[in-house]
């Protein structure tokens, strides 16, 4: 099915109006020698056939494993109302709200999203979203580099390894100095900090699920005039000390936990919030509240002089499309959960993870790795290579967690187990029994 509505008769009428004899003539400006030598693409299919094919492909995916995989991306439940709203053509078939008067729906929703993110992070302002947590981290780092005019990024090794690799990729051509170290202890941070440090990059809860108070870290960094960038899980923020409270300059993170499906890696949502002071350095779209000529409240994109379509190579970022619809989805999710619901959801995640950890540590050969508070994920040490254990568990229909050896060669036997509100006591029981059986 193509979606071209033209009938033969209409086509003829249009060609005549244009004054050409054929559609082919409309391409006369493309020199013949540049025309394609091949066009080996499949025959068109009907909607039904495409659906059948995609359904068959979906059936090849083991999406129904009982999921204890997390590592930054979590199997949460998204209430049906979220998708019901996102399915409204008014939201998903619109574009970036350049024309404010006919885009008040998107603009107000984004303004509300920014408000929710600011309140959740304890920061002053938020942008309208970045692509994902990793690109948000890169943009935050660039913001720090631009603002501080310094070149060193000090990165804690408990930052999601994916984001650490992404930072390296993006900065490869930028003559920056990326230093990775375990900065969990403030002593270690103190040692690593110097006056070249543009930013200290930390994560909370960290990649291993551990909850920290990073206030002292932030104070140390500020003392060296380095900016503090914190990556946080927005669901955990319902209960944990906020980047704002800890003194972060920029808060970023992955918004997938706010009602977005795992969807094999995307579309997700990078959130990004900062202080009032840094507002005009923030990359990306920002919606603002204003009034029309009658004093009626309305919303528009604002602070656009930071952006590429105005500033071109001098812009604070190259971003154009962001993850607007995902941001609306996250807002709907946060609205449904609400003030108390978010806290309860966070706590349910914590409680179930704690229960799972207790169940797993009850297995004789399983060792504890971390003490102290943790969110919905934790490390355990297995007596065998975790990759192997995972593989055996998958055969039982359970994805028991993420084998840390993949990112941390010194932790081959460590398994990172995530437990969300979706995991029942029964399923946690299966996990524990299954794991005991394969060890």
């Amino acid at each position: 099915m193509d979606f071209v509505p033209h009938t033969e008769e209409e086509r003829a009428r249009m060609l005549e109006a244009i004054g050409v004899g054929s559609t082919e003539e409309l391409f006369q400006d493309i020199p013949p020698e540049l025309r394609p030598k091949s066009w080996n693409l499949p025959q068109p299919l009907s909607e039904f056939e495409v659906r059948r094919r995609l359904e068959a492909m979906a059936d090849l995916n083991a999406h129904d494993l009982t999921c204890f995989l997390g590592a930054g991306f979590y199997d949460h439940y998204s209430p049906a109302a979220v998708d019901a709203i996102l399915r409204r053509g008014e939201f998903y078939t619109a574009y970036t709200p350049y024309q404010a008067e006919v885009s008040q729906g998107t603009l107000q929703a984004i303004y509300e999203y920014q408000t929710a993110i600011a309140r959740l992070t304890g920061m002053d302002v938020s942008n309208a979203s970045m692509y994902d947590g990793g690109t948000a981290m890169f943009e935050a780092a660039m913001m720090a580099v631009r603002k501080t005019k310094k070149t060193k990024l000090l990165i804690c090794t408990s930052l999601n390894p994916i984001y650490r690799v992404m930072l390296r990729s993006y900065t490869a051509n930028l003559h920056l100095d990326l230093v990775e170290a375990d900065l969990t202890k403030t002593e270690d941070l103190q040692k690593a900090l110097d006056d070249k440090t543009a930013a200290v990059i930390l994560q909370n809860p960290d990649f291993f699920g551990r909850i920290h108070d990073l206030s002292e870290h932030a104070a140390q960094a500020k003392a060296q005039k380095a900016m503090v960038i914190m990556n946080t899980n927005p669901l955990a923020l319902a209960v944990t000390k906020t980047p704002g409270e800890m003194g972060a300059d920029i808060a970023v993170g992955e918004g997938q936990v706010l009602g977005l499906p795992l969807s094999f890696g995307g579309p997700y949502l990078g959130y990004m919030a900062t202080t009032k002071k840094l507002m005009r350095s923030l990359p990306g779209r920002i919606a603002g509240r204003t009034v029309d000529h009658d004093g009626k409240v309305g919303y528009c994109l604002t602070l656009q002089t930071r952006e590429q379509h105005i500033r071109r190579e001098k812009a604070s970022s190259n971003i154009c499309s962001n993850q607007s619809l995902c941001a609306v989805g996250a807002l709907v999710f946060m609205s449904l959960m609400g003030k108390q619901g978010m806290v309860d959801l966070a706590r349910m995640n914590m409680a179930k993870a704690a229960y799972a950890k207790k169940r797993l540590l009850a297995i004789e050969s399983v060792e504890n790795v971390d003490d102290g508070p943790f969110f919905n994920e934790f490390r355990i040490k297995l007596p065998i290579d975790a990759r192997k254990a995972v593989s055996m568990m998958i055969d039982k229909g359970i994805a028991p967690g993420f084998p840390l050896g993949r990112y941390y060669p010194d932790q081959p036997n460590n398994l990172l187990v995530a437990v969300t509100e979706k995991r029942t006591k029964e399923e946690i029981g299966y996990l524990a029994e299954g794991l005991e059986a394969v060890l």
Binding site: F3, H63, A94, G105, Q108, G265, R312, I319, D344
Partner: protein, 487 residues
């Protein structure tokens, strides 16, 4: 309309959590010490599901959208977004899949369907563009550009070249110079000729040994195909500069030209433009990047590869790769929709789409030329650019006035004040899915606006009057920003 926060009532709930099935003690133990806790809960709304549904349903009605009417926003390709792709992206077997699954040992075999979507999409895009290899990771067009420039940097770094300049024509999208700058390059702008395109002789003047790459779109943002492209490419390649194709305008030439054949080394596509995936009010998009063979080794990891037995796997063993540019495989849900769209259209349909995108645009061009100044009034491709300069001078009616007048006539305005090479520009891209009767209605609306500019300019200064709000104080908004509702 009040915000969702203002609708909040203390204690109201929108959702129930699952029944507590584990011992209560574990819940009690979730109380973090003050050291780790936020001092008070985040002031999120306290509303019911009904409150939420009504709020966002009513909000949505304040948006214009493709589902409601013609949206000829130039260079954005606001074509129809088929409904069935929405359903397919939500198949539980796709939407419920954890991205780390194929990274577990033997996990790839548990995600063959999802890997297949990525792999087969690459195969299709290779044929559409003539490129030798693709990555689906970039999550938007500008992200694709950044990836492309990173590939240019990696290429020159690998060859030991010291090149620091990216050339960009003056008619380029703003993302082009911004992407080049973000990747650490110096940007030099090359002017267009009076033909509306960059010409080889001008280009030569700018093509120093320092030039690492050239970013172009073809057809360009005035909708013109640059017939000198091959010559430009040869010149660039002779200096070992790479040619980058901004695929935002690919909807104009599918089946009639492949970027690779035109001499481009790198291309990004906008699946949310050319391949019919919805724009979502500003995203998520998808900006896959294709390259010629010599650049393949630099593509981001992971790459999707096929084994002898036909199974697919993720290949991380790419020592020269620029690394990760996305956490996983890009905006997979968007890729899936584009894949389904391409399967539906097939080769035939994609070519037909371009033909009719061009047909629609040229039809608008000749019809609009009767009442509007069109600086390059000749066969164009996917978009045509008008200028309101004469209306400004003669009647004091600006491009913005014209745009707002169109709103009152029931249309989304074109892109305005872009490209910069045309003063008071109105950049119109109808796309192939817009039927003739709507094009005629658009022409009629524009004719009436031209008349109003002459006879009743005040009506245009005051437009729009049919919208939830009138023209907003954008200057005030930027001067004293209110971007977060105060608590």
């Amino acid at each position: 309309m009040s915000t969702i926060f203002e609708k909040s009532k203390p204690g109201r709930r929108g959702v129930d959590l699952p029944t507590r099935d584990i011992p209560q003690e574990f819940y009690e133990a979730t109380e973090l010490g003050a050291e780790y806790s936020r001092s008070k809960p985040a002031e999120l709304p306290e509303v019911s599901e009904l409150d939420v549904v009504r709020h966002f349903t009513n909000l949505s009605t304040k948006n214009f959208s493709v589902d409601k009417g013609m949206y000829p926003l130039g260079s954005c390709t606001m074509k129809y977004n088929p409904k069935f792709t929405e359903d397919l992206a939500r198949l539980p077997g796709m939407a419920g899949l954890h991205p780390l699954l194929p990274q577990l040992r033997r996990g790839g075999l548990l995600a063959q369907g999802a890997l297949g979507v990525l792999y087969e999409t690459e195969v299709l895009l290779k044929e559409v563009t003539g490129m030798d290899a693709f990555t689906m990771q970039p999550m938007a067009g500008a992200h694709g550009e950044l990836t492309g420039i990173m590939l240019i940097a990696a290429y020159h770094r690998d060859k030991g070249n010291k090149k620091s300049i990216i050339l960009v024509p003056d008619s380029a999208h703003g993302t082009n110079p911004a992407s080049a700058a973000l990747a650490g390059f110096e940007v030099v702008t090359v002017p267009s000729s009076d033909e509306g395109v960059m010409k080889p002789d001008t280009f030569k003047e700018y093509l120093t040994d320092d030039v690492a790459g050239v970013m172009m779109t073809n057809p360009n943002t005035v909708g013109l195909f640059n017939p000198y492209i091959k010559e430009i490419a040869d010149l660039a390649h002779a200096k070992d500069a790479l040619l980058y194709y901004d695929g935002a305008n690919l909807n104009a030439i599918m089946g009639y030209a492949k970027p690779a054949d035109l001499g481009f080394d790198i291309v990004h596509l906008n699946l949310h433009k050319t391949m019919g995936t919805p724009h979502g009010g500003g995203g998520p998009g998808s900006g896959p990047v294709g390259v010629v063979e010599k650049l393949e080794e630099f593509l981001p990891v992971s790459r999707i590869k096929q084994r002898q037995d036909g199974t697919l796997f993720l290949d991380y063993d790419q020592p020269k790769s620029i690394g990760y540019i996305a956490p996983f495989y890009g905006n997979f849900g968007v890729t899936l929709k584009a894949y389904a769209y391409m399967l539906a259209l097939g080769g035939e349909g994609l070519k037909k789409a371009s033909e009719h995108a061009v047909l629609n645009t040229n039809y608008l061009r000749v019809k609009l030329a009767e009442n509007w100044d069109i600086p390059f009034n000749k066969i164009c491709k996917h978009e045509v650019v008008l200028s309101s300069s004469d209306k400004v001078e003669e009647y004091g009616v600006s491009t913005l006035d014209v745009a707002k007048g169109l709103i009152d006539a029931g249309f989304h305005p074109p892109t305005v004040y872009f490209p910069l090479v045309i003063k008071e520009a109105l950049m119109i891209e109808p796309t192939e899915t817009e039927p003739l009767e709507n094009l005629d209605a658009f022409v009629e609306a524009m004719t009436k606006i031209a008349e109003a500019a002459k006879n009743d300019p005040e009506s245009l200064h005051n437009a729009p009057v049919t919208t939830p709000v009138g023209r907003l104080d954008e200057v005030g908004a930027a001067r004293k920003p209110n971007v977060v509702l105060p608590e």
